[in-house]
Amino acid sequence: MTFNFKSLRRLISGDPYAGRVVPPSGFTAQLTLFASGAMAFLAVFALALSLASGRLAERWGNELAGTATIRIVAPQDQRAQQTAAALRVLETTPGVARARALTNAEQQALLAPWFGSDLPLDSLPVPRLIEITSTGAGFDATGLRLRLAAEVPGAILDDHGRWRAPLVAAAQRLRLLGWVAAALIVAAVAAMVTLAANAALAANAQVVAVLRLVGATDSYIALAFVRRFTWRALVGSSVGVIVGLVAVWVLPSGGEAPGFLTGLGFQGVGWFVPLALPLVCAAVALAATAFAASRALRSLS
């Protein structure tokens, strides 16, 4: 059996007469439609997970990559002096765009969730924090640590690397997991269509015999089945994608609060990505049916 460009053109243009040679099969047709729709629905969520993870990884990466913190851990009477020394070091460090010491009020706000808002910072050994914003190229963290060790003994540089790396890695893994899940779902569509096409061809062995008797080529016979299953997969997955998109759209957004689950969904052009699923499902169904038909027709000879 050959399935070539000409066959594809015939498939797309359609032949109302050729489509009728295969008897209608109500129940299996409904099952194929339902399975394609359900798979496409799940694939929409897998894509939503993947795209949301991608955004999260990018946001975490961007937010943490451009900043660093210096803690000044020094006796109360030396804290202001060492803070000023650290700021001077930072002023001459290449790659540091901006550096400023957090005010008492800002530090109090940071600790408020744990200790309340009336914490007497002046009487407690709380380190002074310096916020650093780096330039695009960034600064040499190792070199800066060495300078701080020499000039500001109480300064500890935290470039957020130990926080950022595992978070970004986890988000990237989650993104990969989403794509793998979507690919597995599409593979399941292929397996389901192959099984259904095999069953349909086996059930229609007499139809195949009659068609061969009257001079039908194997590609003609295969095309009658391919057309049917491709159409079912296209219609079923289109419905599944529409329902899936609506379901994602009505998910609670969580407002401005940061969170992973509340960010699950599509943004901007991301909404168009699932629209490719019906075409992918139809293409997969086409290939799976052509493969199944090719094998089945060989065994029916």
């Binding site: 059996m1 040679v21 139809v207 009257v214 001079g215 194997d218 003609y220």
Partner: protein
């Protein structure tokens, strides 16, 4: 009418040629050293006891089976040298009628008769008047929209004959075409086959019905081939 008259291409031409053909099935040899040549416009019967291999020989004649040994040439082409789709194309020049006629049960009689047109990309609507004339020729005009399951045995055989000849094939092969029908209907079917032969079609009928052969010989010059002991021989004048 869409059945066009054939022109004989000369005495040397062969539409079907079997040369030293053998066919084995299930470890045993069913047919052995068969050599048969059918000239254009000839009328042949193939007879022999049940299980002798008449149907197998007929299937070899339209490429549904390939020989275990020897050569089968259809229109001077060795079937073994052809791809499957090429055999299908060649089969459009050969009309086949089986005893156990198979139709597509969900299509009407007319759609079934027009099936060879459909699979060859020519739509039945385009052949409308000719199709109607063909249905009239086999006496099924009033059953055109019936489903195959609603037809009697004789009607099914005539519908099968109409389907076999709708592409105006050069050869008509019939396997026990009168096996399931009464005498009157079998005479009617034979008349149609004789008419086809007079149009120049090559006709080969496999049957064990000797009365059918005798009736045919009264109307047309027919040769009788008998399968016996796995081989084919020309039957004597007693038939």
């Amino acid at each position: 009418m869409m059945l066009r008259h054939n022109r004989c291409d000369g005495a040397g031409a062969r539409v079907i040629e079997l040369e030293n053909v053998a066919y084995s099935y299930g470890g045993g040899e069913l047919l052995s050293d068969i050599s048969v040549k059918l000239a254009p416009g000839s009328f042949h019967f193939l007879t022999g006891p049940s299980g002798a291999g008449k149907t197998t020989l007929l299937k070899l004649c339209y490429g549904a089976l390939l020989p275990s040994a020897g050569y089968v040439r259809l229109f001077q082409t060795d079937v073994r040298s052809l791809e499957r789709d090429d055999v299908a194309q060649l089969r459009r020049k050969i009309g086949v009628v089986h005893q156990d006629v198979q139709f597509l049960d969900h299509l009407s009689v007319t759609d079934n008769v027009a099936l060879p047109l459909t699979v060859s990309g020519r739509h039945a609507e385009a052949a409308g008047p000719d199709l109607a004339e063909l249905m009239n020729w086999v006496g099924l005009s009033n059953r055109a929209e019936a489903l195959p399951a609603e037809l009697s045995g004789g009607e099914r055989q005539r519908a099968a004959l109409a389907r076999a000849v709708i592409m105006s094939p050069d050869i008509v092969l019939a396997d026990e075409p009168t096996g399931n029908i009464d005498w009157e209907m079998s005479q009617r079917l034979l008349t149609l086959l004789v008419e086809l032969n007079r149009m120049g079609k090559t006709v080969l009928i496999a049957t064990h019905d000797l009365s059918l052969i005798r009736a045919a010989k009264a109307q047309v010059q027919a040769r009788v081939l008998r399968i016996s002991n796995r081989r084919v021989q020309l039957a004597g004048a007693d038939l």
